[in-house]
């Protein structure tokens, strides 16, 4: 794979994309191998891998839920949706549960602004939940197969980061 990119250091990001596609994430040994193959210091490879949001240095969770916090989704209630998800999963945004079962991620615009707000659950897009009706939203999330609200919402807290009252 490294050879296909001519073994050149400017192909680093492309190589990392392909490694992640194969392995699901960028492990230490994989980064080391990339560094050797491209004849780059490990610090440079690690520096690039950790800079970009899409590169994962940890194995991915079993289930991934990404909520869109793009502006179109935001003005149509994505903040409330995000709070619902955080409560359900007991996770903050961009967090993975300790047992590796769930990850909650934020994205900025999935290109489905017309159906806002939207979320992606294990690669499947779900659109237009009833974000302003708490109870209906709750059943909508249940229908998606999300766990019931965890017992400790206070531990997670609901800080202001997503812009919801």
């Amino acid at each position: 794979m490294i050879r296909r990119h001519g073994g050149q250091s400017h192909g680093l990001i492309e190589v990392l994309h392909q490694v992640q596609e194969l392995d699901g994430f960028l492990s230490k040994p994989a980064l080391l191998q990339v560094a050797r193959g491209l004849r780059l210091p490990l610090s440079r490879v690690y520096g690039v891998a950790s800079f970009y949001h899409l590169f994962r240095l940890q194995p991915p969770a079993e289930h991934r839920c990404a909520v869109c916090l793009g502006t179109a989704c935001f003005v149509r209630g994505a903040g409330r949706l995000a709070v619902g998800l955080r409560r359900r999963l007991g996770l903050d945004l961009d967090q993975t549960s300790g047992d590796g079962r769930w990850a909650l991620e934020r994205v900025s615009c999935l290109g489905a602004c017309g159906q806002a707000p939207v979320l992606v659950l294990d690669g499947v897009l779900f659109t237009a939940p009833p974000a302003d009706q708490p109870q209906e939203l709750d059943s909508w999330l249940t229908a998606l197969g999300l766990p019931a609200a965890v017992a400790l919402p206070a531990a997670v807290g609901l800080p202001a980061a997503v812009g919801t009252p």
């Binding site: 050149q8 250091s9 400017h10 192909g11 680093l12 990001i13 492309e14 990392l16 994309h17 520096g47 690039v48 800079f51 970009y52 949001h53 899409l54 590169f55 916090l69 793009g70 502006t71 179109a72 935001f74 003005v75 149509r76 903040g79 934020r106 994205v107 900025s108 615009c109 999935l110 290109g111 489905a112 602004c113 017309g114 159906q115 806002a116 939207v118 897009l125 659109t127 202001a160 980061a161 997503v162 812009g163 919801t164 009252p165």
Partner: protein, 546 residues
């Protein structure tokens, strides 16, 4: 544009772009093709109709780019003897009825067909009627995966002509005369930038297309990439010829998988046809283009960060000068333009710079593509002459608030822009007018904000975005945005004192003045513009004391 002149043989154009895909275009397209094939069962071409849209298979069902009214997706246009009819939100179960109508084999008239009732969209409504497609000329008409269709629609004709008839200087003259300004946000005169690159000392030059489109709520560039990628490639090749580049990159954000796929296919087809590579179209002009995929960092849309990223480095900006036009990729002069800027080039050469300059307003010539979303009836893509009023775009074309309420504000320019209050909707949309209101043209995302949304929350939303996307290279942006976010939390919770508001404004001024790149410099804009136009919502009166 969306409506075509009447034609004898009917065809169906189904939008296959990502907006409609997210609304179910995939199953609908399959159902339309199956229905079209089923009707001609027994004919040898029936199978072919399932997989491709070969003419002769009875009814042609084609996959095209964005048909503009994305919020009603999936969209299908039926072009027939009576002109074009548009349908939105059709479930796959409705496919057979539409195919029967298009074939003229339906037992009942169109108006009486229950499967289609409620799905017909009016093509005479202002949303469609007031559009002026130039950049989007071919989007929604050509199949983006077939270069033959792009060529039949005039694609690459200007590249061929330019290579045969015009010198690089003559090309640049047309672009200068057109008055075209960069569509990536800054509005820098394109002709001037091209001259700067072309007039550097002899040596290698690069051309780069910025397709990072990171502003949330913006999908203009994506629509060009997904709907008519050959137009971009033609514009890029003309630009390369005009500045003397023989190598280039299109930098696309990783979040656009369909755009990347179609762009790669388009590059392959163009090479195959001799429209890229060595000795293009029989001339001595050579150009190699490559796609580079981002990895989820908004700041990589900034031109110097983008160049670092293409070179396989961390995407941190550097200070300018030197500008990329002087020293860019590997130190060589590099032309960087936005997708829409480059996609406007073929039409400028076809019609002439003066013709283009006659469209639009005084200092902002030509047309601009906007993506409309948020609290608005018609979510989608519009291309209008520069200088069209915000009211026309948002209320007349966009249909205003979906629940019939009043529009509260329009956000333009994404995290670098601001909010324009409803009272100022008569502002013409051009670079200078929006700047004067404390907002920005930005790349063209317009998000409409309804009465139910509090403006400090909007400001906080963008600040959270900037905190998350700051690359951390300089302190004012890295630390300043975090402090601004904390102050905005107090504002949203209505705990802000007058002193907090003063601190907020002072901090905004500091971050604006001392940040290294445009991200930090513009991050305070959403705060400043909402403070300016919606101060009452911030809860404290300056000077009133805590």
């Amino acid at each position: 544009m969306v409506a075509l002149p009447p034609r004898e043989r009917s065809q169906l154009r189904c939008c296959g772009a990502s907006g409609c895909r997210s609304a179910g275009a995939g199953p609908l397209l399959a159902a339309l093709r199956a229905a079209a094939a089923a009707g001609v069962a027994g004919e040898p071409s029936a199978i072919a109709a399932l997989t491709t849209a070969e003419p002769g298979s009875g009814l042609e069902v084609r996959s095209v780019g964005c048909l503009r009214l994305c919020g009603q997706g999936p969209l299908v246009a039926w072009d027939g003897p009576e002109g074009t009819r548009l349908f939105g939100g059709l479930p796959p179960e409705g496919a057979a009825a539409l195919v029967a109508q298009a074939r003229g084999l339906a037992p009942i008239p169109l108006q009486a067909e229950p499967a289609l009732a409620g799905h017909r969209l009016d093509l005479e409504q202002p949303f469609f009627r007031l559009q002026r497609p130039l950049v989007l000329e071919g989007c929604g008409i050509v199949d983006p995966e077939r270069i033959e269709e792009a060529i039949a629609h005039g694609g690459y004709a200007q590249l061929r002509r330019v290579l045969q008839e015009l010198s690089p200087e003559q090309v640049r003259e047309q672009v200068r005369r057109s008055g075209l300004r960069g569509r990536g946000g800054g509005g820098y005169p394109t002709g001037l930038k091209w001259d700067t690159v072309a007039l550097q000392p002899p040596g290698r030059r690069y051309v780069v297309c910025n397709a990072d489109e990171g502003d949330p709520g913006a999908f203009m560039d994506r629509s060009v990439l997904e709907g008519d990628p050959h137009r971009l490639l033609e514009g890029m090749a003309i630009a390369a010829y005009a500045v003397g580049a023989d190598h280039g990159y299109v930098y696309v954000r990783a979040e656009y998988p369909l755009a990347i796929e179609r762009l790669r296919l388009a590059l392959q087809q163009a090479r195959h046809q001799g429209l890229l590579g060595q000795g293009i179209a029989g001339s001595s002009f050579n150009l190699e283009l490559e796609v580079r995929v981002g990895a989820g960092a908004y700041v990589c849309g900034e031109e110097t960060a983008l160049l670092h990223s293409i070179q396989g480095q961390r995407g941190t900006p550097r200070s300018r000068p030197p500008y990329p036009a002087q020293a860019g990729l590997w130190g060589a002069p590099t032309l960087i333009n936005n997708v829409e800027t480059l996609a406007a080039v073929p039409v400028i050469l076809r019609q002439g710079g003066d013709w283009y300059a006659a469209i639009g307003s005084d200092k902002s010539r030509g047309t601009k593509v906007f993506s409309l979303s948020g609290a608005i009836r018609h979510t989608g893509l519009v291309e209008v002459p520069m200088g069209t009023s915000l009211r026309t775009v948002v209320e007349i074309m966009g249909g205003g608030d979906p629940d019939g309420g009043a529009v509260k504000a329009v956000q333009t320019g994404g995290p670098s822009g601001g909010c324009i209050p409803a009272a100022l909707l008569d502002t013409p949309v051009d670079f200078e007018s929006l700047l004067a209101l404390g907002s920005m043209m930005g790349s063209g995302g317009m998000v409409v904000i309804g009465q139910g949304t509090a403006m400090p929350e909007v400001a906080r939303h963008f600040m959270a975005f900037s905190v998350n996307e700051s690359c951390g290279k300089c302190v004012p942006c890295r630390a300043g945005t975090v402090q601004l976010l904390a102050l905005l939390d107090r504002c949203v919770e209505r705990r802000a004192t007058a002193a907090d508001l003063e601190a907020l404004e002072a901090l905004c001024a500091m971050v604006k003045a001392t940040s290294l790149c445009g991200l930090g410099q513009a991050a305070p804009n959403p705060v400043l513009s909402t403070l300016r136009h919606f101060r009452q919502e911030y809860g404290a009166v300056p000077g009133a004391g805590p």
